[in-house]
């Protein structure tokens, strides 16, 4: 199935879809690592701005941007970033040292990215004096661009620009090379510490046909592994797609639903346990949690045009047919049909006995959806 609008070979459209998926990936990575919303884009923008002041060439700046955007994707699947893991603070810290190297491996597998991107992600947390991670590189062994990324990280993390300037100058010769700290100071005085979010440099991407869809699948797999439900999105996507076809969805609706089935799991990235494990999927008790996960997943998707429609489907997946769902209490046909299908498919996949879903017809689920879901389930079995 074609997940993203048929680009008819238009490379610009392919790049735009891929850029949206990458930016979404970066946002989910931030959530897994515990960074605030928008951290990755801000870090990428500051790093590129710094590189401009240092006269870095365009190609390297593009690689730097993507490295900033994807700086935390290694957190997805990292044992130290799993909420609810019973680990000592020391173990968590040590495990989190692997985030950059894991992120580098992920970036290296995305062939559409600039080649330099992966190693910038790998060395973004190295310190000039050799006390960084993962590789404990030191001095000029650390590429200057990776130092810009580290400076951008320190700047964004500090919150207050003046505080950031103080921290960077204190860390000159320790976390940062003196020449890089000097470059940061120059940038700070030239820019006043103000940086607008940069647009994704689309021309730096070299996607093949279907690259965005393949990447989305790969990310969904990683998210499922992180949240302890390996392979879940594949089962739910197959089920939801079958139901949607039975209900006569057109190609656009089908594509949006297919994307939604791949991105809804991102809402659970910081959850301590899988959604279906904590509460019966047909019980009202877990509705707040389901709605919270749905809202978070929608938040990740909404800023990106290629994922926006799917984000609205995900946002409404915890609505109930009888109007008692969350977050908006939509009723009957006001609940998007695709959201009903997705919500029912998620519940169905988590049930111990499939037939139990019939008990929720007319209350939790749309009466039109459940029979189609049962037929689809039987077909899959």
């Amino acid at each position: 199935m074609t997940l993203f609008q048929d680009t008819a070979g238009d490379p610009r459209a392919q790049r735009a879809s891929l850029a949206d998926v990458l930016a979404w990936y970066g946002a989910v990575g931030d959530a897994a690592a515990g960074n605030p919303e928008g951290f990755a884009l801000r870090k990428a923008s500051v790093a590129v701005s710094l590189a401009e002041v240092a006269n870095v060439d365009d190609a390297d700046r593009d690689a730097l941007f993507f490295a900033g955007l994807l700086h935390a994707v290694g957190a997805i699947g990292n044992a130290g970033c799993r909420a609810g893991a019973d680990l000592s603070p020391r173990a968590v810290r040590t495990l989190r040292w692997d985030i950059p190297a894991q992120g580098a491996r992920i970036c290296a597998e995305i062939s559409a990215l600039p080649a330099a991107c992966a190693d910038l992600v790998r060395w973004q947390a190295e310190c000039w004096d050799g006390t960084g991670f993962p590789d404990q590189l030191r001095w000029n062994g650390i590429p200057p661009l990776a130092q810009y990324l580290a400076l951008a990280d320190a700047f964004v993390r500090a919150g207050d620009p003046d505080e950031a300037l103080t921290q960077v100058s204190m860390q000159s010769g320790r976390a940062f090379g003196p020449m890089h700290a000097r470059a940061f100071t120059m940038w700070y005085h030239l820019s006043g510490g103000e940086t607008e979010p940069r647009p994704v440099p689309l021309d730096a991407l070299t996607p093949t046909e279907g690259a965005a869809a393949a990447l989305l699948d790969a990310i969904a797999d990683r998210i499922d592994e992180h949240t302890g439900v390996a392979g879940r999105h594949r089962r739910i996507a197959a089920l939801a797609e079958n139901v949607a076809q039975r209900l006569g969805f057109d190609a656009t609706q089908l594509a949006a639903l297919a994307i939604a089935a791949r991105i809804f799991g991102a809402g659970e990235i910081a959850a301590e346990r899988p959604e279906g494990e904590e509460f019966d999927p047909l019980a009202r008790l877990g509705i707040e949690e389901r709605a919270r996960h749905a809202a978070l997943a929608a938040t990740f998707a909404r800023p990106h045009a290629a994922l926006r429609e799917a984000g609205e489907i995900v946002a409404a997946r915890a609505e109930w047919y009888d109007g008692t769902g969350k977050p908006r209490g939509l009723r009957h046909d006001a609940v998007p049909r695709a959201a009903s299908v997705l919500g029912a498919a998620i519940a169905y996949a988590a049930l111990d006995r499939a037939e139990r879903i019939e008990t929720a017809i007319g209350t939790q689920f749309d009466p039109h959806v459940v029979p189609a879901l049962l037929e689809a389930g039987r077909a899959h079995a």
Partner: protein, 304 residues
């Protein structure tokens, strides 16, 4: 002022780990280990590591972050390293030869104090950690001599304290035995058997242009400010006897030939030396591939 050279090679332990994993290697020997932070990374990821080097301070640090599974330096123990202790007699003039040339009078006094204090620690592990932490303080001073306006003035004891205390985080266990030894390359290769041999051989005559931060710290550890690194390498396989290109190539070929029992051989090199190294490895191994992520970071990976 001392010149701090640009580094001409890079070892990325995370990438080396990826290469080892590809070949199911669970143990590795590195006879040119240098500062063994890369072995510490591999140990943390479950690999049994065995390192060797000719410089003693590298080996001592290895005892702290490679061999040592448990011992750390607590606050009270760090306090006994970074400052003069009452009742102890110190050789405060030991590094006076460096005064005014590389360091201030106060820094030279501290080098003497630290020299004495690390020798009174309770275990090899603690000594290794202290040497590593103090070396970072020493590097900070040298760097600050180059960029005096860009770096903070930090009191020596405070700087040393923070670096030594930080070494705790590198202490790790992986339920495998890891070792380090002070020995020439062939002795290390012969003393251990492992799934992989990792070689990062020094360039020909590289001891003549060694980084000051490396040889000066050996001089500190030896308590001899006049120490030269040529002295340490004089009788080694890649020392003065290998100063001309044919002799150097023969020495490398000898090392590779002695590595025949290792199923996997990984040689780290740079673009400028790749042809020479690759040729030597291809003469000894049937299956050779080159992993070249950067001009200064190239791995020649050879299997039987």
């Amino acid at each position: 002022m001392i010149d701090l050279p640009e580094r001409t090679r890079r070892i990325s332990p995370s990438r080396l780990h990826e290469i080892l994993l590809e070949h199911d290697a669970a143990s590795v020997v590195d006879p040119f280990m240098g500062l063994p932070t890369h072995l510490n990374y591999l140990k943390r990821h479950g690999i049994a590591v065995h390192g060797g080097d000719l410089l003693e301070w590298f080996v001592r640090v290895g005892e702290g972050i490679v061999v040592n599974d448990l011992t750390i330096l607590r606050d009270s123990e760090v306090a006994e390293i970074v400052e003069m202790l009452p009742g102890r007699i110190y050789s405060l003039d030991l590094f006076k030869a460096w005064e005014g040339v590389f360091f201030t009078e106060e820094q030279c006094v501290y080098l003497g104090v630290w020299y004495d204090n690390v020798r009174n620690l309770r275990s090899d592990g603690q000594t290794g950690l202290a040497i590593l932490g103090l070396w970072r303080a020493f590097c900070y001073w040298l760097q600050k001599a180059q960029s005096p306006d860009d770096m903070q003035d930090i009191p020596p004891s405070e700087l040393a304290w923070s670096y030594i205390r930080e070494t705790e985080q590198w202490v790790t266990a992986n339920v495998r035995r890891s070792t380090v030894r002070q020995a020439d390359v062939l002795a290390t290769i012969g003393a251990q058997q492992a799934d992989a041999l990792f070689l990062a051989p020094p360039a020909r005559n590289s001891f003549r242009s060694a980084d000051a931060r490396i040889w000066m710290w050996e001089a500190w550890w030896q308590g001899n400010p006049y120490f030269t690194i040529e002295h340490a390498y004089r009788d080694s396989l890649l020392g003065a006897r290998a100063s001309d290109p044919p002799a150097y190539a023969r020495a490398l070929a000898t090392i590779v030939a002695n590595a025949e029992n290792y199923p996997l051989l990984v040689v780290q090199t740079t673009e400028s030396r790749l042809n020479e190294i690759e040729g030597i490895v291809r003469n000894a191994r049937a299956d050779v591939r080159v992993v070249a992520p950067h001009p200064y970071e190239i791995y020649v990976v050879a299997t039987k």
